[in-house]
């Protein structure tokens, strides 16, 4: 013991280490560091709620203050995961309520959380401060009322993109008058009206409120009232941005925005009436973040806004911005880090919107700090992709969605292998990539050889054979999440790379060519993987091993097969000890 630091010193040193990856590394140094670290870890991140059980977590980390959990796989966002698949928060809250009385923060993504769980949260943790429910479902306004009523020190309530059953909207009034701690409120996903007077009173008594995201039902006429009560806001999400054309309304709104000297981020903008856009021009020079992805305004109006935002770092828009708007963006917004362009009319072959690959090329030329791209378009070429790659080797996230599956290079009619190959070749720090268009096995060879920092890869309607999948699994050293749909990948690649799967968080394959027999074999070979077959046709037991499975979800776990599966999900684990 003579030559080791006292535990208190080590603990103090560890308190400066916050990233969970660093914490994990620390705990691997030696047994005593593992012990000390586990007692002083305050924040846990669990990227797959089924990778570990609540009991294991609590046993290892007894003094946790903040929990972050993710449930369903990413493709659940696009309706590929059937209802009832899982991702329930209830088992977690039951155990945490007992084990972590001092819990302060819960952040969930793609999980199912009930009103009962919300009520349990609100009553179990005296010092509860932060609740973030991202793309969650299963709860209603009643659950929110419980949180509002019982969490005395609530700082942050963020319901981003969750589905909330809106029975009768009155939950804001459940915040007691004594609650003045609110700093962040995001209710943009709520469909029904909230009590405006309750909202105003809440805002008026929350001097530290920095983020407020309203829902669509809050009318524009009332926005200035809210802004007058909260001129300290840093981030604002408007409600519907439309009203009758009235000069006095415009003046009021302009005046209200002018008072908000701290405003840096804007979002909302449903149903925009362009007449009212100038109201917030005064804050544009300060804006770092702008989300216009619900605003169905045309290119001139969008351009007018963004040319006034020289400090813009994050922009989300609809493809109404068109190439001309993106040209303007590339000239005006030199601080741009992240661009997302969404399709206004995704199901129509020809949407009459002049947005092409050229817009993205312009932005890649003009915006030298651009790191993250999400781009929906209808045409792409290898030369454009190569230009983008050469312009922006600092890209870390590149997600391209060409709307038509298997669309080739529109100029040469060739596959887009070379273009994406250039992306992974030049962008050596690329962490996330989504592919689209016509692609052969060759693009996967490029990716496997070059994309050494790639952590997440999304593939759809691509490839020719198992070789494609094999290149990825054997080559991408940093790969954590792989999601594939509608590709001719089958058993061979999977079974040749079984140990790779344990180094990843998860693998999703739907509408591919993986056989039931391969799933069974994989599961037997790798006991620390859950090999879940999702099949809604109902006769899985009677199907031959050669039959292809609909959907396959494979993830590493220390908790064994889960027991909360619906009938259409099976874990291919033959071990009778797990059968109940």
């Amino acid at each position: 013991m003579g030559y080791s630091f006292p535990e208190e010193v080590l603990e103090h040193v560890f308190s400066f280490i916050s990233l969970h990856t660093d914490r994990n590394a620390v705990s691997l140094v030696c047994k005593s560091w593992y012990e000390i670290e586990r007692w002083c870890r305050r924040r846990i991140f669990i990227g797959n709620c089924y990778a570990v059980s609540p009991g294991i977590v609590i046993r290892r980390f007894p003094e946790v203050r903040s929990v972050e959990l993710k449930g369903k796989p990413h493709f659940a966002d696009f309706n590929l995961v059937p209802d009832g698949w899982g991702g329930y928060f209830y088992p977690w809250i039951c155990e945490m309520a007992r084990a972590y009385p001092w819990l302060e923060e819960i952040r969930l993504k793609r999980m199912v959380i009930t009103d009962e769980s919300l009520e349990l949260i609100s009553k179990s943790f005296k010092n509860f401060k932060v609740l973030v429910l991202s793309s969650c479902e299963g709860f209603s306004i009643d659950g929110l009322a419980a949180i509002a009523a019982n969490c005395r020190n609530l700082r942050e309530l963020d319901l981003r993109e969750s589905e909330v059953e809106d029975l009768s909207g009155h939950w804001l009034s459940h915040f007691p008058d004594s609650c003045t701690s609110l700093q962040s409120l995001n209710m943009s996903c709520l469909l029904s009206e909230v009590s405006f007077s309750a909202l105003v009173r809440l805002i008026a008594r929350s001097p530290n409120l920095k983020t407020l995201r309203l829902n669509r039902a809050v009318p524009l006429e009332k926005l200035s009232t809210l802004l007058h009560r909260a001129p300290q806001l840093v981030e604002l999400g408007t409600g519907a941005y439309s009203a009758e054309i009235r000069q006095d309304l415009l003046s009021n709104l302009t005046e209200a925005f002018a008072k908000c000297k701290e405003l840096e981020g804007l979002s909302g903008f449903w149903d925009v009436v362009p007449f009212y856009l100038p109201a917030f021009y005064s804050v544009c020079s300060r804006l770092t973040s702008l989300n216009l992805s619900y605003a169905t305004i045309q290119s001139p109006d969008v351009t007018k806004i963004i040319t006034q935002c020289p400090n813009l770092q994050r922009l989300s828009v609809l493809d109404y911005i068109e190439d001309t708007g993106l040209d303007a963006l590339s000239l005006s917004c030199k601080e741009l880090r992240e661009l997302r362009v969404f399709p206004s009319d995704p199901f129509v072959a020809d949407a009459n919107v002049a947005l092409t690959e050229q817009g993205l090329v312009s932005v890649s030329e003009g915006c030298s700090k651009l790191q993250s791209v999400l781009y929906f378009c209808r045409q792409m070429s290898n030369s454009a992709l190569t230009t983008i790659a050469k312009n922006r080797p600092n890209l870390t996230c590149f997600r391209l969605c060409i709307l038509e599956p298997r669309a080739p290079d529109y100029q040469t009619l060739e596959p887009l292998d070379h273009g994406f190959g250039a992306i992974v070749d030049h962008c050596k720090q690329l962490q996330r990539l989504s592919l689209s268009g016509l692609l052969t096995d060759r693009v996967f060879e490029y990716i496997g050889n070059r994309a050494k920092k790639l952590e997440m890869l999304s593939i759809a309607f691509a490839g020719d054979s198992d070789l494609g999948l094999h290149f990825v699994l054997s080559g991408c050293e940093s790969l954590r999440k792989l999601e594939i749909r509608d590709c001719p990948f089958g058993d061979k690649a999977l079974l040749a790379n079984v140990s790779k799967l344990e180094t990843m968080r998860s693998l999703w394959m739907s509408s591919c060519s993986v056989s039931l027999g391969a799933c069974k074999w994989l599961s037997q070979k790798m006991p620390r993987l859950n090999v879940e077959v999702i099949d809604e046709q109902g006769d899985l037991d009677s199907r031959p091993d050669s039959c292809h499975v609909e959907k396959l979800y494979v993830y590493r776990t220390v908790a064994g097969p889960r027991l909360d599966m619906p009938s259409f999900v099976r874990t291919m684990n033959q071990n009778p000890a797990y059968r109940r």
Binding site: E95, E161, E163, S293, V348
Partner: protein
Amino acid sequence: MDQIKRNTLNLFEDNDHLTTELRLGLPGSDDQPEIKTTSLSSNKRSSSEMGSSSCMDENESTFSPPAKEQIVGWPPVRSYRKNILQVKKMESDTGSGIYVKVSMDGAPYLRKLDLKMYTSYEELMKGLQDMFKCLIGLYSEREGYNGSHHALTYEDKEGDWMLVGDVPWEMFISTCKRLRIMKSCEARGLGGSL
């Protein structure tokens, strides 16, 4: 510091622990979500059943969807995003629009008309003339009622009766609550000197 238990260094703890673990959230527990009935998730069940079955090569849907053949979950756009734009389209296509009552002096019954079906005053006039089989004139300072026997007025949001045609079309349809086709001799008082 308290006595610290010695655990193994193995970060993936032994599976033996599982047999003594509390298990919660068993199938059939009240944590199962109900079948959704909200419009946002109307796609969920049926579309996954629409997807390819295991033994098919092609993934094309066998159901016939509205515009073009839609593939489940493609393009990868979140459903709340799709719904917002679809709602906008619906409002402009099928006109869950602005229905106002239209009365005509001397006619026994009122009619109802969707202002969103029109994009200008001329179109509105034409539509009304077809509906009521009459001739309506837009008032102008120079020409009066253009020789017709009827004039078109509307009640605005503040309850005032106004002459149709003064304000820009967009503003008109957002303030118009009902329409009245008056005899032009009675409408004369609205227009000022004649």
